[in-house]
C-alpha cells in the first residue's frame, strides 16, 4: 500500500509541482496520466525515492520514505520498490540472468538465481537468459526489466511509460504482465503514461491536467 499527503516539489522557484494525494492498495493498479510537463516523471521519482519532496510525505506500507536517510533509502528502494522504465537499461557486460540476479544481490545480499530463472521463464524469456541484453528485442528487454523489478517481491511496482516504445502486440503483452504479476506478487502497481492504449485496461486513473 502507498499513500501520499500534500506532496510538492520544485526544480526551481518558477516551477512548483503540487500533487494530489494518492492512495493505492496492495494488488491494485493506478494509472497516472497527464500531458508532458505536468510532472508525471517527477511524481514517479518522488514515489520511488529517487527525489526528495519539498513538502508532504510518502508512506509505503508502514515506512515514511521521506524521512529515511540516504543510505536507508538506497536499501529500502532496492528491497521494496521495483522500477520499470520507458527504455530499459542494463549492465551491458552481464547477461540477462546475471542482470536479474544482480538486482537481488544489491537489495538483499543474496543471489536469488533459481527465482530469477523461474521469473524469466514466466515472462517467456527462457531462451534469452544467457544472452547479453543488447542482443534482445525491445519487447524482450522490457520484459527483462519487469523480471528485474519483481525479483525482490517489492511492495510497490512503478512503471514509467513502460509501453510507449512498443508496438501494439508487445504493449498489451507488457501491460497484461504488469497487471497479472503485481497481483501475484502482491505489489501495488502505479503506471505513469500518456499511452492511450493503456487507459482502457486500467480503470483506476488519476489525471494530473
Amino acid at each position: 500500500m502507498i499513500q501520499t499527503e500534500s506532496l510538492s516539489f520544485s526544480y526551481n522557484s518558477n516551477t512548483v509541482f503540487s500533487f494530489p494525494n494518492i492512495k493505492n492498495n496492495v494488488s491494485e493498479a493506478l494509472l497516472i496520466t497527464g500531458n508532458s510537463g505536468k510532472g508525471k516523471t517527477t511524481l514517479l521519482h518522488l514515489l520511488g525515492g529517487l527525489l526528495r519532496p519539498k513538502s508532504g510525505s510518502i508512506s509505503i506500507q508502514d515506512t515514511t520514505i521521506s524521512s529515511l536517510s540516504e543510505k536507508e533509502l538506497d536499501h529500502f528502494r532496492g528491497k521494496n520498490i521495483g522500477l520499470v522504465l520507458q527504455q530499459s537499461h542494463f549492465v551491458a557486460s552481464l547477461n540477462v540472468l546475471e542482470n536479474v540476479v544482480l538486482a537481488s544481490w544489491l537489495a538483499t545480499g543474496k543471489k536469488a538465481t533459481d527465482k530469477a530463472k523461474s521469473l524469466l521463464k514466466q515472462l517467456d524469456l527462457e531462451n534469452q537468459m544467457y544472452k547479453l541484453p543488447s542482443n534482445l528485442s525491445v519487447g524482450q528487454q522490457q520484459r527483462v526489466s519487469i523480471a528485474r523489478a519483481l525479483i525482490n517481491e517489492p511492495k510497490l511496482l512503478l512503471a514509467d511509460e513502460p509501453t510507449s516504445s512498443l508496438d501494439d502486440e508487445n504493449a498489451f503483452k507488457v501491460a497484461d504482465l504488469l497487471a497479472k504479476l503485481s497481483k501475484e506478487y502482491k505489489a501495488s502497481l502505479i503506471i505513469v503514461t500518456h499511452d492511450q492504449r493503456l487507459k482502457n485496461k486500467f480503470p483506476n486513473q488519476l489525471n494530473l491536467n
Partner: protein
C-alpha cells in the same frame, strides 16, 4: 559480486583494457628487470671482491685490471715479472697474496694458474677429489663440471688465449683431480691449476713453435701494442703529455693515460723481454689482502712510482663502474615510470569515457539498491584490478627478460642471474606505486559515479 562486475566490465571493452594493460605491463616489467639486474649485479660484483684489498698487475687501465683479474670478463692488461711481484707479496703488511697466471681456456672457460689460497678466498671447498698439486693437475669449478659433464680423471687440452676457437696445446693434457663446491662466484666457472703448469705449457710451446708465435702468444696484449708501435711518432708525443701529467697528479695520470706509458716501456725492451722469458717467469696479477690496512692507501702510489706495475683498488674501481652505469639505469627507470604515468592516463581516459556511456547503468544499479559507496568502489576496483593484473604480468615478463639476458651473459661473461629471487623491499615499493597510479587514475571517475544524480539521469533518458 562488485569485484566480479568490475572484472566483467573490464573485459566488456577489451581493447581499452588491453591498451592499459600493455602499458602497465611494460613499465612494471622494465622496472622489475632493472631492480633484479642491479641488485644481483652489484651483489655478484661485491661478493667477488671480498677479501681482495688490492690487485697488483701490469700497468694499464685499473678498471681493466680489476675486470680481468677479479671478474674474468676482460682481457688482462699484460703480464708482470714474478720476481718483482714476489718482493711485494712477501711484504710484512700482506696477509695473503694470491698469484694468478692466465693463458689458456678450455671451451671458453679460463684456465687459471694460482695457489690453493684462491679456492679458500672464495670459501669454496673441494667437493670431489683433491686440490691440484702437480703440473697439469686441475680443479674445475662446479658450473663447468655441471655444464660440460666433466668427472674426476677426465683429461682435456687447453686452447690458447681467451677465445674458444684457437690454437690447441696438444703437448700436454690437463687432468681433472678435483671439483670445487658451488659458491655463486666467478670461481664456479674457472679451471684452476698451479702457476707452474701455465709456465710449463707456454715455455715448451714457445720452443716448439719458434719465436714469432711465442712473442704474440705469450703476451696477448702485445699484438695490440704492435699497432700503436708502428705509428711511433704519435706515440712519443703522448708520452710527453704523460710526463707532464705526472708532475701534477700521479693517480690521475694512471687512469687517464696509462696504456701508452706502459706500451712505451715494454716495447723499448722488447727483445730483452723475449730473452728473459726462460729465466724470468711471468704472472698476470696478484690478489692481495692486507694485515695492515695502511697498505691499501699507500701502495698504489708506491708501486706506481717504483715499479713497472700498478696496484688497483677493486672497491674503488667497482664503485666507479656502478656509478657509471647507474646513470644509465636511472635513465631507464625514469623512462619506465614515464610509461607507467602514460598507462595511468590511459586508464583514466578509458574509465572517464566509459562513465558517460555507463551512467544509466550506474543509475540503474542505484535504483536496484546499490549505495553511493558501492558505485565508488566499482570504479576503483576496476582500476585496481587492472593495475594488479598489470603488475603480475609485468613481474613475470621482467623475469622472463632476465632469463634471456642471463643466458646471454652466462655465455659471454660466465655471469648468471637468478630470476626466482624476489627483492621484497624494492618490488614492494613498485607494487605500491602501481596501486597508487591505479587509485589516482580512478579518483575523478569514481567521484563522478559517487555523485551521480539518479533522477536526472533517468529523466533525460
Amino acid at each position: 559480486m562488485i569485484a566480479k562486475l568490475a572484472w566483467k566490465n573490464l573485459w566488456f571493452k577489451p581493447l581499452n583494457t588491453v591498451l592499459s594493460l600493455v602499458l602497465l605491463t611494460a613499465s612494471v616489467a622494465i622496472i622489475s628487470l632493472l631492480i633484479l639486474l642491479q641488485e644481483q649485479f652489484e651483489k655478484q660484483f661485491s661478493s667477488n671482491i671480498d677479501g681482495v684489498d688490492l690487485v697488483l698487475g701490469a700497468q694499464g687501465s685499473p678498471l681493466q685490471l680489476i675486470l680481468s683479474s677479479v671478474y674474468h670478463v676482460d682481457d688482462p692488461t699484460g703480464n708482470i715479472d714474478y720476481k718483482e711481484a714476489e718482493v711485494w707479496m712477501k711484504h710484512p703488511f700482506v696477509e695473503t697474496a694470491i698469484p694468478l697466471a692466465f693463458g689458456d681456456n678450455y671451451r671458453g672457460f679460463k684456465i687459471v694458474g694460482t695457489t690453493p689460497d684462491y679456492i679458500k678466498k672464495y670459501a669454496a671447498t673441494i667437493s670431489q677429489g683433491k686440490v691440484f698439486e702437480k703440473n697439469f693437475e686441475v680443479v674445475i669449478g662446479s658450473e663447468i663440471a655441471k655444464k660440460l659433464n666433466i668427472k674426476i680423471g677426465d683429461k682435456f687440452f687447453g686452447t690458447h688465449g681467451s677465445a674458444e676457437e684457437g690454437h690447441v696445446h696438444e703437448e700436454y693434457a690437463y687432468v681433472v683431480v678435483g671439483i670445487a663446491s658451488p659458491t655463486g662466484k666467478v670461481i664456479d666457472n674457472l679451471v684452476l691449476c698451479t702457476i707452474e703448469s701455465v709456465w710449463a705449457m707456454h715455455a715448451n710451446h714457445g720452443h716448439d713453435h719458434g719465436e714469432e708465435v711465442r712473442s704474440s702468444d705469450e703476451n696477448p696484449p702485445h699484438g695490440e701494442e704492435g699497432h700503436v708501435h708502428v705509428d711511433g711518432d704519435e706515440h712519443d708525443h703522448e708520452e710527453h703529455v704523460h710526463d707532464e701529467n705526472c708532475n701534477h697528479d700521479h693517480d690521475h695520470e694512471v687512469t687517464e693515460n696509462p696504456p701508452h706509458g706502459e706500451e712505451g716501456h715494454i716495447h723499448e725492451d722488447g727483445d730483452e723481454h723475449n730473452h728473459d722469458h726462460e729465466e724470468a717467469k711471468e704472472i698476470t696479477a696478484v690478489l692481495i689482502k692486507f694485515k695492515n690496512k695502511m697498505g691499501i692507501i699507500s701502495w698504489p702510489r708506491m708501486i706506481a712510482q717504483n715499479t713497472k706495475m700498478q696496484a688497483a683498488m677493486p672497491a674503488l674501481e667497482i664503485n666507479r663502474l656502478f656509478s657509471l652505469f647507474g646513470i644509465g639505469l636511472q635513465a631507464l627507470q625514469y623512462l619506465a615510470y614515464g610509461i607507467m604515468l602514460i598507462s595511468g592516463i590511459s586508464i583514466f581516459i578509458a574509465l572517464y569515457n566509459r562513465l558517460k556511456e555507463r551512467k544509466y547503468e550506474f543509475a540503474l544499479l542505484r535504483v536496484s539498491g546499490a549505495s553511493r559507496i558501492q558505485m565508488l568502489g566499482l570504479v576503483l576496483i576496476e582500476s585496481l584490478l587492472l593495475c594488479i593484473v598489470g603488475f603480475i604480468f609485468g613481474t613475470l615478463f621482467g623475469r622472463l627478460a632476465l632469463v634471456m639476458i642471463s643466458s646471454t651473459t652466462d655465455e659471454q661473461f660466465k655471469m648468471a642471474f637468478n630470476p626466482m629471487t624476489i627483492i621484497w623491499e624494492k618490488e614492494g615499493i613498485l607494487f605500491l606505486v602501481t596501486i597508487f597510479v591505479g587509485i589516482l587514475a580512478a579518483v575523478i571517475p569514481a567521484v563522478k559515479a559517487y555523485r551521480l544524480n539518479i533522477s536526472k539521469t533517468l529523466a533525460n533518458a
